[in-house]
Protein backbone atom coordinates (compact mmCIF):
# COMPACT_ATOMS: atom_id res chain seq x y z
CA UNK A 1 0.00 0.00 0.00
CA UNK A 2 1.23 3.49 -0.91
CA UNK A 3 2.41 5.71 1.93
CA UNK A 4 0.23 8.55 3.17
CA UNK A 5 1.13 11.58 5.27
CA UNK A 6 -0.64 14.79 6.22
CA UNK A 7 1.25 17.95 7.11
CA UNK A 8 0.14 21.44 8.05
CA UNK A 9 2.19 24.58 7.46
CA UNK A 10 1.49 28.01 8.89
CA UNK A 11 0.54 30.23 5.95
CA UNK A 12 1.99 33.25 7.78
CA UNK A 13 5.44 31.67 7.69
CA UNK A 14 5.43 29.60 4.51
CA UNK A 15 4.35 30.39 0.98
CA UNK A 16 2.47 27.89 -1.17
CA UNK A 17 5.17 28.25 -3.82
CA UNK A 18 7.86 26.99 -1.44
CA UNK A 19 5.72 23.96 -0.66
CA UNK A 20 5.01 23.34 -4.34
CA UNK A 21 8.71 23.52 -5.21
CA UNK A 22 9.59 21.10 -2.43
CA UNK A 23 6.90 18.72 -3.69
CA UNK A 24 8.21 18.96 -7.23
CA UNK A 25 11.63 17.93 -5.97
CA UNK A 26 10.08 14.90 -4.25
CA UNK A 27 7.91 13.72 -7.15
CA UNK A 28 10.06 10.63 -7.57
CA UNK A 29 8.66 9.45 -4.20
CA UNK A 30 5.21 11.00 -3.75
CA UNK A 31 2.62 13.45 -5.07
CA UNK A 32 1.09 16.36 -3.19
CA UNK A 33 -2.47 17.57 -2.68
CA UNK A 34 -2.44 21.14 -1.42
CA UNK A 35 -5.29 22.98 0.26
CA UNK A 36 -5.44 26.40 1.95
CA UNK A 37 -7.56 26.47 5.09
CA UNK A 38 -7.61 29.90 6.66
CA UNK A 39 -4.05 30.64 7.79
CA UNK A 40 -2.99 27.05 7.33
CA UNK A 41 -1.72 25.19 4.29
CA UNK A 42 -2.76 21.55 4.39
CA UNK A 43 -0.63 19.03 2.55
CA UNK A 44 -1.56 15.45 1.79
CA UNK A 45 1.40 13.44 0.55
CA UNK A 46 0.56 10.26 -1.33
CA UNK A 47 3.40 7.85 -1.98
CA UNK A 48 3.96 6.62 -5.52
CA UNK A 49 3.03 2.99 -6.12
CA UNK A 50 6.70 2.19 -6.55
CA UNK A 51 7.79 3.89 -3.31
CA UNK A 52 8.44 1.56 -0.38
CA UNK A 53 7.22 2.70 3.05
CA UNK A 54 10.72 3.33 4.39
CA UNK A 55 11.68 5.35 1.30
CA UNK A 56 8.41 7.27 1.63
CA UNK A 57 9.15 8.21 5.23
CA UNK A 58 12.64 9.37 4.27
CA UNK A 59 11.18 11.42 1.42
CA UNK A 60 8.65 13.07 3.78
CA UNK A 61 11.49 14.03 6.10
CA UNK A 62 13.43 15.49 3.18
CA UNK A 63 10.30 17.33 2.07
CA UNK A 64 9.95 19.06 5.43
CA UNK A 65 13.55 20.25 5.18
CA UNK A 66 13.03 21.29 1.57
CA UNK A 67 9.99 23.42 2.42
CA UNK A 68 12.08 25.44 4.84
CA UNK A 69 14.93 25.66 2.32
CA UNK A 70 12.65 26.87 -0.46
CA UNK A 71 11.08 29.43 1.84
CA UNK A 72 14.53 30.80 2.69
CA UNK A 73 15.51 30.72 -1.00
CA UNK A 74 12.45 32.80 -1.86
CA UNK A 75 13.38 35.39 0.75
CA UNK A 76 17.00 35.47 -0.41
CA UNK A 77 15.99 35.80 -4.06
CA UNK A 78 13.56 38.61 -3.35
CA UNK A 79 16.16 40.48 -1.32
CA UNK A 80 18.99 40.09 -3.85
CA UNK A 81 17.05 40.42 -7.12
CA UNK A 82 17.93 44.11 -7.69
CA UNK A 83 21.65 43.42 -7.19
CA UNK A 84 21.46 40.37 -9.40
CA UNK A 85 19.94 42.45 -12.19
CA UNK A 86 22.59 45.11 -11.68
CA UNK A 87 25.38 42.52 -12.01
CA UNK A 88 23.85 41.08 -15.19
CA UNK A 89 23.54 44.63 -16.52
CA UNK A 90 27.20 45.32 -15.74
CA UNK A 91 28.27 42.03 -17.33
CA UNK A 92 26.55 42.66 -20.63
CA UNK A 93 26.35 46.44 -20.92
CA UNK A 94 29.42 46.47 -23.18
CA UNK A 95 28.62 43.31 -25.06
CA UNK A 96 27.77 45.23 -28.25
CA UNK A 97 25.19 42.57 -29.02
CA UNK A 98 23.38 44.86 -31.44
CA UNK A 99 26.45 45.88 -33.42
CA UNK A 100 28.17 44.06 -36.24
CA UNK A 101 31.87 43.38 -35.87
Amino acid sequence: MAGLAELTFDGQLYGAEAIQKAAYRAMHAFTLDLKVDGDNILCTLVGNITTEQEAFERAVEEFRKDVLDYQLRAQLQAETAPIRNLIIGLAFSNARLNQSE
Partner: protein
Protein backbone atom coordinates in the same frame (compact mmCIF):
# COMPACT_ATOMS: atom_id res chain seq x y z
CA UNK B 1 51.55 60.43 16.75
CA UNK B 2 51.22 57.29 14.64
CA UNK B 3 51.22 57.56 10.86
CA UNK B 4 48.46 54.98 10.78
CA UNK B 5 44.93 55.06 12.07
CA UNK B 6 43.99 52.69 14.82
CA UNK B 7 42.54 49.30 13.91
CA UNK B 8 39.11 50.53 14.96
CA UNK B 9 39.10 52.95 12.03
CA UNK B 10 38.93 49.99 9.65
CA UNK B 11 36.20 48.20 11.50
CA UNK B 12 32.82 48.48 9.86
CA UNK B 13 29.86 49.13 12.09
CA UNK B 14 27.34 48.83 9.28
CA UNK B 15 25.73 45.45 8.54
CA UNK B 16 26.72 43.57 5.44
CA UNK B 17 24.42 43.03 2.45
CA UNK B 18 23.68 39.71 0.84
CA UNK B 19 24.76 39.20 -2.76
CA UNK B 20 22.86 36.71 -4.97
CA UNK B 21 23.63 33.10 -4.14
CA UNK B 22 21.96 29.71 -3.95
CA UNK B 23 22.25 26.90 -1.45
CA UNK B 24 21.65 23.18 -1.28
CA UNK B 25 22.01 20.49 1.35
CA UNK B 26 25.05 18.27 1.38
CA UNK B 27 25.42 15.28 3.67
CA UNK B 28 24.19 15.78 7.23
CA UNK B 29 23.45 19.34 8.24
CA UNK B 30 25.95 20.99 5.95
CA UNK B 31 25.06 23.18 3.02
CA UNK B 32 26.89 24.29 -0.08
CA UNK B 33 26.42 27.89 -1.21
CA UNK B 34 27.30 28.98 -4.75
CA UNK B 35 27.32 32.42 -6.27
CA UNK B 36 26.36 33.47 -9.81
CA UNK B 37 29.74 32.45 -11.16
CA UNK B 38 30.03 29.06 -9.47
CA UNK B 39 32.34 29.95 -6.58
CA UNK B 40 31.33 27.88 -3.59
CA UNK B 41 31.69 27.49 0.16
CA UNK B 42 30.49 24.79 2.52
CA UNK B 43 28.64 26.08 5.58
CA UNK B 44 26.89 24.43 8.50
CA UNK B 45 23.12 24.86 8.76
CA UNK B 46 23.22 27.19 11.79
CA UNK B 47 25.80 29.38 10.04
CA UNK B 48 23.62 29.57 6.92
CA UNK B 49 20.68 30.80 8.95
CA UNK B 50 22.83 33.38 10.75
CA UNK B 51 24.30 34.46 7.41
CA UNK B 52 20.85 34.92 5.86
CA UNK B 53 19.70 36.90 8.89
CA UNK B 54 22.79 39.11 8.39
CA UNK B 55 23.94 38.39 11.92
CA UNK B 56 27.29 36.78 11.12
CA UNK B 57 30.02 38.43 13.18
CA UNK B 58 32.94 39.96 11.31
CA UNK B 59 35.38 37.91 13.39
CA UNK B 60 33.66 34.64 12.39
CA UNK B 61 36.13 32.44 10.39
CA UNK B 62 33.65 32.31 7.50
CA UNK B 63 33.25 36.06 7.19
CA UNK B 64 36.41 36.79 5.22
CA UNK B 65 35.75 33.91 2.81
CA UNK B 66 32.21 35.11 2.22
CA UNK B 67 33.51 38.55 1.30
CA UNK B 68 36.37 37.21 -0.80
CA UNK B 69 34.04 34.98 -2.80
CA UNK B 70 31.40 37.68 -3.22
CA UNK B 71 28.58 36.24 -1.15
CA UNK B 72 28.32 39.41 0.92
CA UNK B 73 29.44 43.02 0.65
CA UNK B 74 29.06 46.34 2.41
CA UNK B 75 26.58 48.64 0.76
CA UNK B 76 29.21 51.15 -0.39
CA UNK B 77 31.39 48.55 -2.10
CA UNK B 78 31.29 48.48 -5.90
CA UNK B 79 34.19 46.06 -6.49
CA UNK B 80 32.27 42.84 -5.68
CA UNK B 81 29.65 43.74 -8.27
CA UNK B 82 32.27 44.56 -10.91
CA UNK B 83 34.16 41.35 -10.20
CA UNK B 84 31.03 39.20 -10.32
CA UNK B 85 30.05 40.85 -13.60
CA UNK B 86 33.51 40.25 -15.05
CA UNK B 87 33.54 36.60 -13.99
CA UNK B 88 30.02 36.07 -15.32
CA UNK B 89 31.00 37.60 -18.62
CA UNK B 90 34.11 35.39 -18.78
CA UNK B 91 32.09 32.24 -18.12
CA UNK B 92 29.62 33.05 -20.86
CA UNK B 93 32.15 34.38 -23.35
CA UNK B 94 32.04 31.11 -25.32
CA UNK B 95 28.54 32.06 -26.48
CA UNK B 96 29.85 34.85 -28.69
CA UNK B 97 32.02 32.33 -30.56
CA UNK B 98 29.01 30.21 -31.46
CA UNK B 99 29.48 26.80 -33.09
CA UNK B 100 32.99 25.39 -32.88
CA UNK B 101 32.63 21.62 -33.18
CA UNK B 102 31.38 20.38 -36.57
CA UNK B 103 30.87 16.64 -36.80
CA UNK B 104 30.98 15.00 -40.22
CA UNK B 105 29.43 11.53 -40.30
CA UNK B 106 31.28 10.34 -43.38
CA UNK B 107 29.80 6.84 -43.27
CA UNK B 108 27.57 4.61 -41.18
CA UNK B 109 29.58 1.59 -42.22
CA UNK B 110 31.49 -0.14 -39.44
CA UNK B 111 33.65 -3.22 -38.99
CA UNK B 112 32.50 -3.61 -35.37
CA UNK B 113 29.10 -4.70 -34.09
CA UNK B 114 29.04 -3.33 -30.54
CA UNK B 115 25.73 -4.06 -28.78
CA UNK B 116 25.77 -0.71 -26.98
CA UNK B 117 26.69 1.32 -30.06
CA UNK B 118 24.71 4.53 -30.16
CA UNK B 119 24.59 4.46 -33.95
CA UNK B 120 22.77 1.95 -36.10
CA UNK B 121 25.75 0.58 -37.96
CA UNK B 122 25.65 -0.69 -41.54
CA UNK B 123 27.61 -3.48 -43.18
CA UNK B 124 31.08 -2.38 -44.19
CA UNK B 125 30.48 -2.80 -47.94
CA UNK B 126 27.24 -0.77 -48.07
CA UNK B 127 28.37 2.48 -49.74
CA UNK B 128 24.88 4.02 -49.85
CA UNK B 129 25.56 5.06 -46.26
CA UNK B 130 28.51 7.24 -47.28
CA UNK B 131 28.67 11.05 -47.43
CA UNK B 132 29.10 12.42 -50.96
CA UNK B 133 31.44 15.24 -52.10
CA UNK B 134 28.45 17.45 -52.86
CA UNK B 135 27.20 17.12 -49.28
CA UNK B 136 30.70 17.70 -47.93
CA UNK B 137 31.06 20.94 -49.89
CA UNK B 138 27.68 22.19 -48.65
CA UNK B 139 28.63 21.24 -45.10
CA UNK B 140 31.87 23.19 -45.43
CA UNK B 141 29.91 26.22 -46.65
CA UNK B 142 28.00 25.90 -43.40
CA UNK B 143 31.11 25.39 -41.26
CA UNK B 144 32.69 28.61 -42.43
CA UNK B 145 29.51 30.59 -41.78
CA UNK B 146 30.17 30.06 -38.06
CA UNK B 147 31.74 33.19 -36.58
CA UNK B 148 33.95 31.11 -34.30
CA UNK B 149 37.68 31.79 -34.85
CA UNK B 150 38.42 28.20 -33.73
CA UNK B 151 36.82 25.51 -35.86
CA UNK B 152 37.06 21.84 -35.05
CA UNK B 153 35.99 19.27 -37.66
CA UNK B 154 35.50 15.79 -36.24
CA UNK B 155 34.96 12.75 -38.45
CA UNK B 156 32.66 10.11 -37.07
CA UNK B 157 30.85 7.02 -38.27
CA UNK B 158 30.39 4.11 -38.28
CA UNK B 159 34.08 3.80 -38.77
CA UNK B 160 35.30 6.90 -40.67
CA UNK B 161 38.34 5.06 -41.98
CA UNK B 162 35.97 2.95 -44.11
CA UNK B 163 35.34 6.15 -46.10
CA UNK B 164 38.78 7.67 -45.73
CA UNK B 165 38.58 9.20 -49.20
CA UNK B 166 35.86 11.50 -47.86
CA UNK B 167 37.97 12.39 -44.80
CA UNK B 168 40.81 13.27 -47.16
CA UNK B 169 38.44 15.28 -49.36
CA UNK B 170 37.02 17.33 -46.46
CA UNK B 171 40.42 18.04 -44.89
CA UNK B 172 41.95 19.23 -48.15
CA UNK B 173 38.89 21.29 -49.13
CA UNK B 174 38.67 22.87 -45.66
CA UNK B 175 42.35 23.79 -45.68
CA UNK B 176 42.01 25.37 -49.13
CA UNK B 177 39.11 27.50 -47.89
CA UNK B 178 41.03 28.35 -44.76
CA UNK B 179 43.78 30.08 -46.75
CA UNK B 180 41.34 32.99 -46.91
CA UNK B 181 39.31 32.31 -43.77
CA UNK B 182 42.38 32.05 -41.51
CA UNK B 183 40.56 30.21 -38.73
CA UNK B 184 42.27 28.08 -36.13
CA UNK B 185 41.36 24.81 -37.86
CA UNK B 186 41.61 21.45 -36.10
CA UNK B 187 40.72 17.95 -37.32
CA UNK B 188 39.86 14.86 -35.30
CA UNK B 189 39.07 11.35 -36.51
CA UNK B 190 37.04 9.20 -34.12
CA UNK B 191 38.23 5.70 -34.93
CA UNK B 192 38.69 2.29 -33.32
CA UNK B 193 42.15 2.19 -35.00
CA UNK B 194 41.29 -1.28 -36.34
CA UNK B 195 41.70 -0.18 -39.96
CA UNK B 196 44.63 2.17 -39.48
CA UNK B 197 47.18 2.05 -42.33
CA UNK B 198 50.50 3.75 -42.99
CA UNK B 199 48.83 5.88 -45.67
CA UNK B 200 46.18 7.08 -43.24
CA UNK B 201 48.83 7.93 -40.66
CA UNK B 202 50.97 9.77 -43.18
CA UNK B 203 47.97 11.89 -44.12
CA UNK B 204 47.14 12.53 -40.45
CA UNK B 205 50.73 13.57 -39.83
CA UNK B 206 50.79 15.88 -42.84
CA UNK B 207 47.59 17.62 -41.73
CA UNK B 208 48.14 17.50 -37.97
CA UNK B 209 45.03 15.38 -37.38
CA UNK B 210 44.21 14.09 -33.89
CA UNK B 211 42.90 10.56 -33.39
CA UNK B 212 40.17 9.96 -30.82
CA UNK B 213 39.81 6.28 -30.16
CA UNK B 214 37.97 3.85 -27.88
CA UNK B 215 39.36 1.67 -25.11
CA UNK B 216 36.97 -0.14 -22.80
CA UNK B 217 39.54 -1.87 -20.59
CA UNK B 218 41.62 -5.07 -20.57
CA UNK B 219 41.64 -7.38 -23.61
CA UNK B 220 38.73 -9.64 -22.65
CA UNK B 221 36.46 -6.75 -21.63
CA UNK B 222 37.30 -4.64 -24.67
CA UNK B 223 36.73 -7.55 -27.05
CA UNK B 224 33.49 -8.54 -25.32
CA UNK B 225 32.19 -4.98 -25.58
CA UNK B 226 33.44 -4.50 -29.15
CA UNK B 227 32.88 -7.62 -31.20
CA UNK B 228 34.25 -7.75 -34.75
CA UNK B 229 35.07 -10.54 -37.17
CA UNK B 230 38.25 -12.19 -35.88
CA UNK B 231 37.52 -11.13 -32.26
CA UNK B 232 40.67 -9.05 -32.35
CA UNK B 233 39.44 -5.52 -31.61
CA UNK B 234 41.85 -5.04 -28.71
CA UNK B 235 44.87 -6.44 -30.54
CA UNK B 236 44.20 -4.13 -33.47
CA UNK B 237 43.66 -1.22 -31.09
CA UNK B 238 46.95 -1.78 -29.29
CA UNK B 239 48.93 -2.22 -32.50
CA UNK B 240 47.25 0.85 -34.03
CA UNK B 241 47.90 2.90 -30.90
CA UNK B 242 51.63 2.16 -30.96
CA UNK B 243 51.85 2.95 -34.67
CA UNK B 244 49.81 6.15 -34.37
CA UNK B 245 51.82 7.45 -31.42
CA UNK B 246 55.02 6.69 -33.25
CA UNK B 247 53.98 8.78 -36.25
CA UNK B 248 51.80 11.47 -34.68
CA UNK B 249 53.14 11.76 -31.12
CA UNK B 250 51.80 10.43 -27.83
CA UNK B 251 49.58 13.44 -27.17
CA UNK B 252 47.85 13.19 -30.57
CA UNK B 253 45.87 10.06 -29.67
CA UNK B 254 43.18 10.13 -26.98
CA UNK B 255 40.79 7.41 -25.86
CA UNK B 256 37.23 7.21 -24.59
CA UNK B 257 35.60 4.34 -22.75
CA UNK B 258 32.03 3.18 -22.46
CA UNK B 259 30.72 1.59 -19.30
CA UNK B 260 28.67 -1.56 -19.80
CA UNK B 261 27.32 -3.95 -17.18
CA UNK B 262 30.49 -6.00 -17.68
CA UNK B 263 32.64 -2.97 -16.78
CA UNK B 264 30.96 -2.23 -13.46
CA UNK B 265 32.97 -4.59 -11.20
CA UNK B 266 36.25 -3.81 -12.99
CA UNK B 267 36.94 -0.11 -12.71
CA UNK B 268 40.43 -0.56 -11.25
CA UNK B 269 41.44 -2.95 -14.02
CA UNK B 270 40.12 -0.52 -16.62
CA UNK B 271 42.10 2.35 -15.12
CA UNK B 272 45.20 0.15 -14.84
CA UNK B 273 44.90 -0.60 -18.55
CA UNK B 274 44.80 3.10 -19.38
CA UNK B 275 47.85 3.68 -17.18
CA UNK B 276 49.69 0.72 -18.72
CA UNK B 277 49.06 2.08 -22.20
CA UNK B 278 50.41 5.50 -21.25
CA UNK B 279 47.23 7.57 -21.23
CA UNK B 280 47.22 10.51 -18.83
CA UNK B 281 43.54 10.22 -17.95
CA UNK B 282 40.26 8.42 -18.43
CA UNK B 283 36.70 9.58 -19.05
CA UNK B 284 34.44 7.36 -16.95
CA UNK B 285 31.27 7.66 -19.03
CA UNK B 286 27.82 6.30 -18.40
CA UNK B 287 25.96 4.58 -21.23
CA UNK B 288 23.73 7.00 -23.13
CA UNK B 289 20.06 6.27 -23.80
CA UNK B 290 20.34 6.47 -27.55
CA UNK B 291 20.46 4.30 -30.62
CA UNK B 292 21.43 0.66 -30.33
CA UNK B 293 21.95 1.06 -26.60
CA UNK B 294 18.16 1.31 -26.25
CA UNK B 295 17.28 -1.14 -29.02
CA UNK B 296 19.38 -3.87 -27.42
CA UNK B 297 18.25 -2.83 -23.92
CA UNK B 298 21.87 -2.36 -22.86
CA UNK B 299 20.87 1.00 -21.40
CA UNK B 300 18.61 -0.73 -18.90
CA UNK B 301 21.17 -3.21 -17.61
CA UNK B 302 22.43 -1.05 -14.80
CA UNK B 303 20.99 1.83 -12.88
CA UNK B 304 22.36 5.21 -11.93
CA UNK B 305 23.18 4.14 -8.37
CA UNK B 306 25.36 1.31 -9.60
CA UNK B 307 27.09 3.53 -12.12
CA UNK B 308 27.78 6.09 -9.38
CA UNK B 309 29.40 3.38 -7.24
CA UNK B 310 31.56 2.48 -10.22
CA UNK B 311 32.43 6.14 -10.78
CA UNK B 312 33.28 6.89 -7.15
CA UNK B 313 35.39 3.73 -6.83
CA UNK B 314 37.28 4.75 -9.97
CA UNK B 315 37.79 8.28 -8.74
CA UNK B 316 39.11 7.03 -5.38
CA UNK B 317 41.53 4.73 -7.16
CA UNK B 318 42.79 7.54 -9.41
CA UNK B 319 43.40 9.70 -6.33
CA UNK B 320 45.37 6.80 -4.82
CA UNK B 321 47.46 6.67 -7.98
CA UNK B 322 48.00 10.45 -7.86
CA UNK B 323 49.14 10.26 -4.25
CA UNK B 324 51.54 7.48 -5.24
CA UNK B 325 53.09 9.84 -7.77
CA UNK B 326 51.31 8.72 -10.95
CA UNK B 327 49.86 11.72 -12.80
CA UNK B 328 46.45 10.69 -14.09
CA UNK B 329 43.06 12.43 -14.17
CA UNK B 330 39.39 11.57 -14.53
CA UNK B 331 38.30 13.85 -17.33
CA UNK B 332 34.64 14.34 -16.34
CA UNK B 333 35.69 15.41 -12.84
CA UNK B 334 38.28 17.72 -14.40
CA UNK B 335 35.61 19.46 -16.49
CA UNK B 336 33.40 19.98 -13.44
CA UNK B 337 36.31 21.11 -11.28
CA UNK B 338 37.23 23.70 -13.88
CA UNK B 339 33.73 25.11 -13.43
CA UNK B 340 33.98 24.94 -9.65
CA UNK B 341 37.48 26.27 -9.15
CA UNK B 342 38.08 28.69 -12.04
CA UNK B 343 36.11 31.38 -13.86
CA UNK B 344 36.41 29.53 -17.16
CA UNK B 345 33.92 27.25 -18.81
CA UNK B 346 35.51 24.18 -20.41
CA UNK B 347 32.81 24.17 -23.12
CA UNK B 348 31.72 20.57 -22.60
CA UNK B 349 28.46 20.21 -24.55
CA UNK B 350 26.62 18.02 -21.98
CA UNK B 351 27.25 20.56 -19.20
CA UNK B 352 26.27 23.76 -20.97
CA UNK B 353 23.49 26.21 -20.35
CA UNK B 354 22.09 27.31 -22.76
CA UNK B 355 22.47 23.80 -24.13
CA UNK B 356 25.34 23.23 -26.52
CA UNK B 357 23.07 21.59 -29.10
CA UNK B 358 23.54 23.34 -32.42
CA UNK B 359 25.27 26.38 -30.97
CA UNK B 360 28.39 24.64 -29.63
CA UNK B 361 28.35 21.53 -31.81
CA UNK B 362 26.46 20.49 -34.92
CA UNK B 363 26.32 17.29 -36.95
CA UNK B 364 26.25 16.74 -40.71
CA UNK B 365 25.00 13.24 -41.37
CA UNK B 366 26.05 11.05 -44.30
CA UNK B 367 22.67 11.69 -45.97
CA UNK B 368 22.81 15.50 -45.74
CA UNK B 369 20.64 15.79 -42.64
CA UNK B 370 21.81 18.30 -40.05
CA UNK B 371 21.36 17.48 -36.37
CA UNK B 372 21.67 19.54 -33.21
CA UNK B 373 24.15 17.12 -31.67
CA UNK B 374 25.67 13.69 -32.01
CA UNK B 375 22.97 12.32 -29.71
CA UNK B 376 20.30 13.89 -31.94
CA UNK B 377 21.41 11.92 -34.96
CA UNK B 378 21.58 8.78 -32.83
CA UNK B 379 17.93 9.33 -31.92
CA UNK B 380 17.18 9.90 -35.59
CA UNK B 381 18.78 6.59 -36.51
CA UNK B 382 16.18 5.02 -34.21
CA UNK B 383 13.35 6.86 -35.97
CA UNK B 384 13.00 9.96 -33.80
CA UNK B 385 13.67 12.98 -36.03
CA UNK B 386 12.87 15.62 -33.37
CA UNK B 387 16.27 17.29 -33.52
CA UNK B 388 16.76 17.13 -37.27
CA UNK B 389 17.32 20.80 -38.11
CA UNK B 390 17.20 20.49 -41.89
CA UNK B 391 19.15 19.24 -44.85
CA UNK B 392 22.44 20.67 -45.99
CA UNK B 393 21.49 20.27 -49.66
CA UNK B 394 18.23 22.17 -49.50
CA UNK B 395 18.23 24.46 -46.44
CA UNK B 396 20.22 27.63 -45.82
CA UNK B 397 22.41 28.36 -42.80
CA UNK B 398 19.73 30.71 -41.47
CA UNK B 399 16.96 28.12 -42.01
CA UNK B 400 18.90 25.64 -39.90
CA UNK B 401 20.35 27.83 -37.15
CA UNK B 402 17.14 29.81 -36.67
CA UNK B 403 14.85 26.79 -36.93
CA UNK B 404 12.10 26.57 -34.33
CA UNK B 405 13.27 23.05 -33.49
CA UNK B 406 16.61 24.39 -32.28
CA UNK B 407 15.49 27.65 -30.72
CA UNK B 408 12.56 26.05 -28.87
CA UNK B 409 14.82 23.33 -27.47
CA UNK B 410 17.37 25.87 -26.25
CA UNK B 411 14.78 28.18 -24.73
CA UNK B 412 12.60 25.54 -23.12
CA UNK B 413 15.51 23.71 -21.52
CA UNK B 414 17.28 26.83 -20.21
CA UNK B 415 18.19 25.89 -16.65
CA UNK B 416 17.92 29.34 -15.11
CA UNK B 417 14.19 29.25 -15.75
CA UNK B 418 13.62 25.50 -15.34
CA UNK B 419 11.75 24.04 -12.35
CA UNK B 420 14.21 22.78 -9.74
CA UNK B 421 17.26 23.84 -11.80
CA UNK B 422 16.62 27.56 -11.31
CA UNK B 423 16.88 27.17 -7.53
CA UNK B 424 19.67 24.59 -7.57
CA UNK B 425 23.03 25.54 -6.08
CA UNK B 426 24.74 23.24 -8.59
CA UNK B 427 23.20 24.97 -11.61
CA UNK B 428 26.45 26.84 -12.47
CA UNK B 429 28.16 23.46 -12.94
CA UNK B 430 25.37 21.64 -14.73
CA UNK B 431 23.81 21.60 -18.19
CA UNK B 432 20.44 21.71 -19.88
CA UNK B 433 20.71 18.50 -21.96
CA UNK B 434 17.46 18.81 -23.96
CA UNK B 435 18.23 15.79 -26.14
CA UNK B 436 18.78 13.44 -23.19
CA UNK B 437 15.58 14.58 -21.50
CA UNK B 438 13.64 14.30 -24.71
CA UNK B 439 14.94 10.75 -25.14
CA UNK B 440 13.75 9.81 -21.65
CA UNK B 441 10.69 12.02 -21.06
CA UNK B 442 9.72 13.10 -24.59
CA UNK B 443 10.11 16.62 -23.28
CA UNK B 444 13.25 18.77 -23.63
CA UNK B 445 12.91 20.06 -20.09
CA UNK B 446 12.14 16.75 -18.42
CA UNK B 447 11.20 16.24 -14.78
CA UNK B 448 14.51 16.76 -13.06
CA UNK B 449 13.38 15.08 -9.85
CA UNK B 450 13.09 11.86 -11.85
CA UNK B 451 16.01 12.46 -14.19
CA UNK B 452 19.03 10.17 -14.04
CA UNK B 453 21.05 13.00 -15.58
CA UNK B 454 20.18 15.20 -12.59
CA UNK B 455 20.73 12.42 -10.07
CA UNK B 456 24.07 11.44 -11.56
CA UNK B 457 25.42 14.95 -11.77
CA UNK B 458 24.12 16.15 -8.40
CA UNK B 459 25.76 13.16 -6.80
CA UNK B 460 29.07 13.83 -8.55
CA UNK B 461 29.02 17.55 -7.66
CA UNK B 462 28.39 16.74 -4.00
CA UNK B 463 31.01 14.01 -4.03
CA UNK B 464 33.70 16.26 -5.49
CA UNK B 465 32.95 19.01 -2.96
CA UNK B 466 32.95 16.44 -0.15
CA UNK B 467 36.33 15.09 -1.24
CA UNK B 468 37.84 18.58 -1.42
CA UNK B 469 36.50 19.60 1.96
CA UNK B 470 37.62 16.44 3.72
CA UNK B 471 41.21 16.38 2.52
CA UNK B 472 43.55 19.27 1.72
CA UNK B 473 45.80 17.12 -0.46
CA UNK B 474 42.85 16.05 -2.60
CA UNK B 475 41.88 19.68 -2.96
CA UNK B 476 45.40 20.50 -4.19
CA UNK B 477 45.24 17.64 -6.69
CA UNK B 478 41.84 18.79 -7.90
CA UNK B 479 43.22 22.30 -8.39
CA UNK B 480 45.77 20.75 -10.75
CA UNK B 481 43.06 18.78 -12.56
CA UNK B 482 40.95 21.92 -12.96
CA UNK B 483 43.79 23.83 -14.51
CA UNK B 484 45.00 20.98 -16.71
CA UNK B 485 42.02 20.57 -19.03
Amino acid sequence: MSKFQALDAYTRSAKYELLPFKFDRLEGDNYVITNMTGEYLEVAKPELHVLLAKDLATEHPLFASLRAKHFIRYADEQAPLDLLALKLRTRLSRLTGFTSLHIFVVTLRCDHSCPYCQVSRQMDDETSFDMTPDMAEKALDFVFRSPNPAIKIEFQGGEPLLNFEMVRYVVEAAKRRNLEEKRDLEFVIATTLSLLTDDVLAFCHEHDIILSTSLDGPTDLHNANRPRVGRDSFERFEAGLAKARNVLGVDRVSALMTTTDKSLPRVREIIDEYVRLGFNGIFLRALSPYGFAIKTRKFMTYDTERWLEFYKEGLAYILELNKAGIPFVEHYASLILKKMLTSNDPGYVDLMNPAGAGIAAIVFNYDGSVYASDESRMLAEMGDQTFRLGNILTDSYEDIILSDVLLDALEQSFTLSAPMCSDCAFEPYCGAEPVFHHAIFKDVLGRKAESSFCKRNMSIFKHLIGLMNSDASTRRLFMQWANAC
